[in-house]
């Protein structure tokens, strides 16, 4: 027994709110292509977002959670991960998923109420979006365990929100990741709100990153609107993970600029002022400012990018709207690898076109 045990959480920031460097930037700053494609992805995600919300408002898509304010985090995740790493996303990871290879049409199908929206062709090992909050954390440690068992140098990135960190699933998983020294990076998208519940009511902890301490893991706080900070923290954590040095918790601090979902009305519970203030820290604009100032960007390029993104989104929307629903039998055909005899009669009814079972 020591007299005193000490713990800490450190934090990372490279850019100020206007996109000025606060000091030396990390290595990634040298990679202009990467920076440019990062920015392009942020804009694509945002363009997509606006469109889906419009589709929802006109009855062409279901309830949808906006990515607004989370583009930087997702983009940094998507870029930092290796192809054979595994992403364990939650429902606000559109920006990461696009980079993983999930198509915009697949995302639309998913939120449009079609299971084929999770049959991702390009990142077949990534876990599907987890709707029950925090449950995916357990999957992430399971995937990490599989890597450990097979001696593979792969990492898992597990995403969740600030609200999710109150749920046992996260804390149990953090503990296992520590105990079993698993190659997992937990990225907490701390956007200050869980629907209407503010961060302050969610927990009395000063930082969310400090929850890592409960499992003996390192925890870091980063500015989630600072591309360099998120990227640097991720690269370090992923490197640790892939080299058998264990798991990390990264708290990426940002703000949910939109409603919780299209079914929500955030004006009921938060002030316009707070929102306005948050917009001033917007990471996409900040990235643009940085690129501008460094001479990598200008109005013309911006216009071209916006047009490109609109085009990509339009194409995806068209494909989505043109997709016929699955046949009725699909509701039963994917339940088991082979249809049990007990379900044959029900399937016959579906073929015959009846609704409900009888």
């Amino acid at each position: 027994m020591k007299e005193r045990y000490e713990f800490h959480v450190d934090s990372l920031r490279y850019l100020d709110e206007q996109g000025y460097a606060l000091g030396d930037l990390p290595e990634v700053a040298e990679d202009t292509d990467r920076l440019l494609s990062a920015y392009a992805n942020m804009v694509l995600a945002r363009t997509f977002d606006t469109k889906v919300i419009a589709l929802q408002r006109t009855g062409q898509c279901g309830t949808y959670p906006s990515v607004l304010g989370h583009e930087v985090i997702g983009t940094a995740i998507g870029q930092s991960m290796a192809k054979d790493d595994v992403l364990v996303p939650y429902y606000r990871d559109q920006a990461a998923q696009i980079l993983r290879g999930v198509t915009l049409t697949e995302l639309l199908l998913y939120w449009g109420g079609d299971e084929r929206g999770s049959a991702w062709a390009h990142c077949p090992q990534d876990l599907p979006i987890a709707v029950p909050i925090a449950t995916q954390c357990c999957h992430a440690v399971g995937v990490g365990t599989a890597f450990r068992i097979r001696g593979e140098h792969r990492a898992v990135v597990c995403c969740l929100g600030d609200g999710a960190t109150s749920k046992g699933d996260f804390l149990e998983s953090v503990n296992l990741a520590g105990a079993w020294h698993l190659p997992v990076v937990f990225v907490v998208n701390n956007n200050q709100w869980a629907i209407s519940t503010p961060r302050s009511l969610q927990s009395a902890c000063e930082t969310i990153a400090q929850k890592a301490i409960s499992g003996g893991l390192p925890g870091h706080v980063v500015d989630g609107n600072d591309y360099f900070a998120v990227t640097e923290a991720l690269e370090t954590a992923l490197d640790r993970a892939r080299h058998g040095k264990g798991a990390t918790v990264i708290e990426a601090v940002t703000y949910r600029l939109g409603d919780h979902t299209t079914a929500d009305d955030a004006t009921r519970y938060r002030s316009a002022e707070e929102l306005k203030h948050a917009w001033e820290r917007d990471g996409v604009k900040r990235m643009q400012n940085y690129l501008h100032r460094e001479g990598f960007w200008d109005a013309e390029r911006e216009q071209a990018l916006q047009a490109d993104c609109k085009g990509l989104v339009e194409t995806a929307v068209k494909a989505y709207l043109a997709t016929q629903p699955e046949p009725p039998t699909a509701i039963i055909d994917y339940l088991f690898e082979t249809l049990p005899a007990a379900l044959q009669a029900q399937r016959d009814r579906l073929v015959a076109g009846a609704g409900g079972e009888q």
Partner: protein
């Protein structure tokens, strides 16, 4: 007397009981400031203060377990789960503690908690928001499971649920949260939790259902009436413990029964009712008890949810089938 929707009736019942019994408290995710994602608890926080209307951190197991602890202290917690699809983390506490506290302590402590959750499909919700797993709770001894199907019954049954000294799982069919309005007198009068409600009398067949499926069931009864078939329609309402008496009496009269529910067929509450009728009304039954239910599959995403949900035509067809025998 105001015309209200089912969800407004839920709100009215909560407000009435909180005003008349200061031991009633409400807790859950987004129930206070936001008034609940379906607005079931809107206005309560303003009226009864933050100490009695509590936004919890995001953890269903904690919500259920905290309610058990509060209840052990004589409070009457009404805990909201945002959707039935998220209630499973809370089941451990409901099964192991809420349902057992009185029995375990031989009456020393008990658990007068209500666990509310919206359930069922048909509103184009994302996955995990549309299931109907009431059978899981109905099988747990020590729990009452109550499902209203109209504004009046939502009001009266919720009052009864809160006043009941034992734990009640109160499942709200969200498809009919706002489907109709009905005059509900805000007089604090509870309805009984130990009886089915006969919504329509008939001679030829007994239609048994609960929750949102009563919409299709009643529509089928209308249609059958046109065809000259007189259907009795029973809203089970409290699916556990089950009022078998009313069901058996009806079947003794009609000789035929069709059960309609949205949940999966295999091991649904319809199975218990069918088994009870087949056993208890063996000599009365002129045809097998038929179940019209959801399929034995995961509730499909919303593009195909109508494929899954029992339709009016399915009920009519089932009745035609049993009548033919």
């Amino acid at each position: 007397m105001t015309d209200v929707t089912l969800i407004e009736a839920v709100n009215m019942a909560l407000a009435w009981e909180m005003a008349h019994d200061e031991t009633v408290v409400v807790l859950g995710e987004d129930v206070a400031t936001n008034g609940g994602v379906f607005r079931a608890t809107v206005g309560l926080r303003e009226r009864f203060g933050y100490k009695r209307v509590m936004d919890t951190p995001l953890a269903e197991n904690l919500i259920a377990g905290t309610a058990v602890g509060m209840a052990a202290q004589g409070l009457k917690p009404v805990a909201e789960f945002q959707f039935m699809g998220f209630i499973y983390a809370g089941m451990d506490q409901m099964i192991c503690h809420a349902a057992r506290m009185r029995n375990r302590t031989r009456g020393r402590l008990h658990c007068p908690a209500v666990f509310r959750a919206p359930f069922g499909g048909g509103i184009h919700a994302p996955e995990h928001h549309s299931e109907s797993t009431e059978a899981l709770f109905a099988h747990i001894p020590g729990l009452r499971v109550v499902i209203p199907s109209s504004p009046q019954r939502a009001y009266g049954l919720l009052l009864a649920a809160i006043r009941n000294p034992d734990p009640v799982v109160f499942l709200e069919p969200k498809r009919i949260y706002r489907a109709v309005t009905q005059a509900v007198e805000d007089n604090g009068e509870a309805l009984p939790l130990d009886t089915c409600f006969t919504l329509r009398e008939g001679e030829d067949v007994t239609l048994i259902s609960w929750g949102a499926s009563l919409v299709e069931t009643l529509a089928a009864a209308d249609q059958l009436a046109v065809q000259g078939v007189s259907a009795e329609v029973i809203d089970v309402a409290t699916i556990s413990p089950l009022d078998r008496e009313t069901l058996l009496c009806s079947v003794a009269k009609t000789g035929r029964a069709v059960i309609v529910h949205e949940a999966c067929r295999n091991g649904g509450v319809g199975a218990e009712i069918a088994a009870s009728l087949a056993e208890g009304a063996f000599l009365d039954l002129q045809a097998p008890v038929v179940r019209v239910t959801g399929y034995d599959t995961v509730m499909p995403y919303y593009r195909n949810e109508q494929v899954y949900l029992p339709q009016v035509a399915d009920v009519v067809q089932a009745v035609e089938q049993v009548i033919a025998l």
